[in-house]
Subunit: 368 residues, 4 copies
């Protein structure tokens, strides 16, 4: 499987390089009858747009999405939805230098080894611009989910050493600060930390946390396509992610059964859990509680600080990566995490529709 | 996708419940001409067998694998390999009690909600016995990989609060202690900790670390089927896993670019990295360094300590789970992690064979 | 894709060789709550059993199916259903001769070339016994479909030169004669023709026709997964099939638009077609009329008549295939055609459940 | 599976409607290092272009392909190749009439039923323009195959009652006549027949035959992904195809084993078949002989002759389809058949690369 397709029923295929003509995505399996226009998608794309604050690259990426197919008279038709974003920015820069060496922390070397050849302009397909297709498709998945009462919200949990305390989260604050943190004071401290990083020509990483509400119990497939396993793959497939955990995650390894197990309590109409150490998943299926997971994002690899590497001839050289780059990509990755979560959950919601004979009988008799 | 199939080219489908007649796996896509007998597989199964120490359930699971198809005259034929393990243990126990309530930390409730109905005997399909199929198939994948010079080794990194120091690892020790730890002293401390847990009718979790050597650079597919994303899904699909990280993992979120980037240095025949913060993956492709990842395992949910839950009528009750259960499943999960890693890597090694035109031309002209 | 898996949502994986220990199938994606026992499946298997008439091989294949997993208290649980049929017949025969040459019309040569090695005992995986897995799974698919009001019926349309006239079909007759023909007189003539074939140590082919009723309009997916394209693949995947046509099929190539188009007429609740040249499919989707397709089955390749071939050393030899073989496989293939049709249609019925937003909204709100 | 993706390793996803902004395809899995420019693809697209003769619609479809991604410095990079063709033709026509009724022989009714809603402009996604994506991708597949020595050639075998005799084929003639027939005299007779059809406001169907040379033995996967089954699905997925046969096809049903079996004869380096009744496939795998298959194409459903149908209110009406339409689509479908065959064969050639351990060992050791 060549790897640019995600999902089995709500299936997306992304394409495009940083400095190619355009970037896009084809969505196959979007149900007919969803009201959809370009603005629904643009809102999501604007959230990943750089150049909005001093903590992201000042390159202007004026990414306007265009719907090329699959929508007629304002509604989806059930046929593939093709979305395109042209790479408008002038691309005058000379990339011949970058072609000649391998940037540490980047995929230059591995692409060269895999394909014997690479599009070195701005990272080509390995550029963060690759996520445009994910976010554009994720916007549609999220819209469908919201019509079913399922909502997804991600935010910056930490940047470098600055972490938002779980007991002091203000979700309304997320869109108020450029770092997407649910706590104004933490956002301010993180900004100070980033200023320090930039002063030292260095960069930072951080944590993104994501919450999903409204899932009925039983979403996910047992064994290999568990909800948490599917989310892990989706999230790790985002370029800079180095770790994934759900619920108590790595902390769970140090707990005992009696402190980690969530007791059930009577509820209406269904039983509820008294705690949520599991993060909303039991046996790979949603358990009715909120889904909570976290992703670890590595520091931006492009830094102005001098680094050691080798050139195409295998000789040791020193480089300093010019241009201005995001000192931290965490805030821009928040909407990418939401998008991948939406795509994952929607596919599993669709899968779940054939779990029981009574549901199928009901559906088929209604359709007749 | 119903979820019991893993892999696209070396594709396995597992089946079977804890207390059904048998458990098994069908492997489709195993190349012809591999020497294979039941002993190759039994060795792996024996490593996950319980009842070997006081830290695993004393139930005797005398799991003998039988090859039903796909092997002729000691070699694989290229057709599906069907492996079966009969559930021999006498199953006299009365499970009617368990049928009537939801065990905390187990999938009883979520299966009931998804399917409207569940096989409650010993957890049914959600039992740890489900991993028999994974391990049996993983043994074959690992054998193929080892013929290509690729080796996978997992071990217990920590149990509860007892962690093996990375600078004091002795890999030869792993098979010497029942906890699969690469350090005899840590193993002894962990044993003491488990004795305490058992005394308190409680259980423990831990960390498993896995190392893969021998991968050429470029294994993995960009974007959605990255090597690390694929591993994350594979590992999170194991019942008790709550987190996955590669290389520096969650620690990377707190580092700066200059401390996290791995510098390249000249090497023969290929450049090498001076450090391995990335864990052997750049841009989702193997980078020539050792692959290193960790999985967080939750404490065993079956504990004798009294727990609160609800019964099938939605009423609050208190339960104490009888029988003897593993106070920790980490050591038995080590071979499951190795198996899932082997299955993941082999599939991507196969995928990589069509990455370049020159490789395909070469292959096709040799075949003629 | 290694090729032993069929379907994406109701997904089957078959395994087993003619002379291996057993043959079987794993069904993944069967909804929970279907009443199922071994007898439901055995009825189908018995229809493909040989040795029932003089027109099929007198080898006794006492194929008893056993359910190994996925069914609890008489109902499917939603987990994989593993079915096994042990190869009980004594296998004393010496196959070393067959190992040394390539039988014309068989896959001996192509398997040898593909895999460099083959299980030559009774054809191994290329034996007609491979269809046991298909039929066992097909029985379950057909049971689900019948609960939705969808029925599939295949029969022998012709054997050699003897064809049943479309205007003289008596479907009640199909199970009354050993050749599964819907006309007693034609069956008698075909029997005479087969007697002649056998006298000349030769074999015959024929046509199977299949009819599917009860499909609502719109089943099938546009473009590559059309209902007719999916059926064609399913039917051609049966060993001896050399052609597939739907509706007027090849005859359509000689008609004009005005004679081939089916006019629509008012109907209740939906419009109806006045004719059915299309065979029940328009644009790859069911159109509400009966689905009608035909498969061309080649004559049995194993014949006692002397044939020319080459041995493993590439030398020309003459052979006469001993043992008794089916002089025609058409009647035994009837249930295989029905099974493959059932598997195909059920998968597309499941796929169709996410075609529209209103259906999804309805389903999700009911589930809550 | 929503149905707009074809292939597992060389995987294409097509999108676009007749009267949308554009039509296109994304190709994922094209190996790196293939020389490719737009002209390679345009040549194929020009072969399906209408308006070239009086036997195809005079609508001018000036379909210029543009490569949006996946090619750098004239070579494929291994990343997805996105191809787009803008729908340039002025689309001033009023389609409101067509929106109100169901055209016989078209998918208007079935799309309406499936999706509850349809893009009625020019047939939307069900238009023949949908094949643009297939042909654009097929051009690339064919280029790769030709580098491996595999060649695919299709042509018009018959139009209405005019059939080219197999013994009088002149393949050089195919591109000399507008009907793509390999015999000038037959082409002239077919032209006369089409003139008659047009005079009667009617249309015609026909047969396309396709030949594939250069395949080594063993291409195809046993059981469900047989070469012939895969071709059948690929070909039937083309809008107007009603039948598929390989080798002797339907004629085989009337032959005996002794007349249908192909005898093997000694050959260098491999044995050869003395005849080719099988059409180049044994047991679903290529047998070293030429692959020969045929597709039955129905007459164009859009005819000027008066037809009966119902309108959106379910009332009986009479219609005459205005505008000029292809009186026969067979010649334009020739390149679509070639394209689908190329896509099918290439995928199976890639699949075959992991059939044997020795091939894998060799490949992996060369890569290191």
């Amino acid at each position: 499987m060549p790897g640019n397709t995600f999902g089995s029923r709500f299936k997306i295929t992304t394409w495009g390089e940083s400095h190619g003509k355009a970037i896009g995505v084809v969505i196959d399996g979007c149900p007919a009858g969803l009201a959809l226009d370009e603005q629904d998608i643009q809102i999501y794309l604007d959230r990943r747009k750089p150049g909005q604050t001093k903590y992201s690259t000042p390159r202007r990426e004026d990414d306007q999405v265009e719907i090329l197919s699959g929508v007629f008279e304002g509604k989806t038709t059930g046929t593939p939805i093709s979305l395109i974003v042209y790479n408008k920015t002038a691309r005058s820069r000379d990339y011949s230098e970058i072609a000649g060496y391998y940037r540490p922390g980047h995929a230059d070397y591995t692409f060269q080894e895999k394909y014997g050849f690479r599009d070195y302009r701005g990272g080509g397909r390995t550029s963060g611009r690759e996520t445009i297709g994910r976010v554009a498709a994720g916007a549609i998945a999220a819209k469908i989910l919201s019509e079913l009462g399922i909502h997804i919200m991600a935010y910056t949990k930490s940047i470098g050493p600055v972490t938002v305390d779980s007991r002091q989260m203000d979700f309304d604050e997320i869109r108020n600060n450029p770092l997407c943190m649910p706590n104004a004071q933490a956002a301010s401290q993180a900004a100070d930390f980033l200023d320090e990083c930039m002063k030292h020509k260095d960069s930072a990483g951080g944590l993104i946390e994501c919450r999903i509400t409204g899932l009925i119990p039983g979403i996910g497939e047992p064994v290999f396509d568990k909800l948490d396993a599917s989310l892990a793959r989706a999230i790790l497939s985002i370029g800079a992610v180095k770790g994934f955990e759900i619920g108590d995650g790595f902390k769970a390894a140090g707990l005992t059964g009696s402190t980690h197990n969530d007791a059930f309590a009577p509820g209406t109409p269904d039983p509820v859990k008294r705690t949520n150490h599991s993060g909303g998943v039991l046996g790979g299926l949603s358990d009715g509680a909120e889904i909570v997971f976290r992703a670890a994002i590595k520091p931006t690899p492009s830094i102005a600080k001098t680094q050691q590497t080798v050139n195409a001839h295998g000789e040791a050289i020193e480089i300093s990566i010019g241009g201005r780059h995001d000192p931290v990509i965490v805030p821009r990755a928040v909407v990418v995490v939401e998008s991948m979560a939406a795509l994952t959950v929607l596919d599993l919601v669709f899968d779940n529709m054939t779990a029981r004979m009574d549901g199928i009988r009901c559906f088929y008799s209604v359709s007749e």
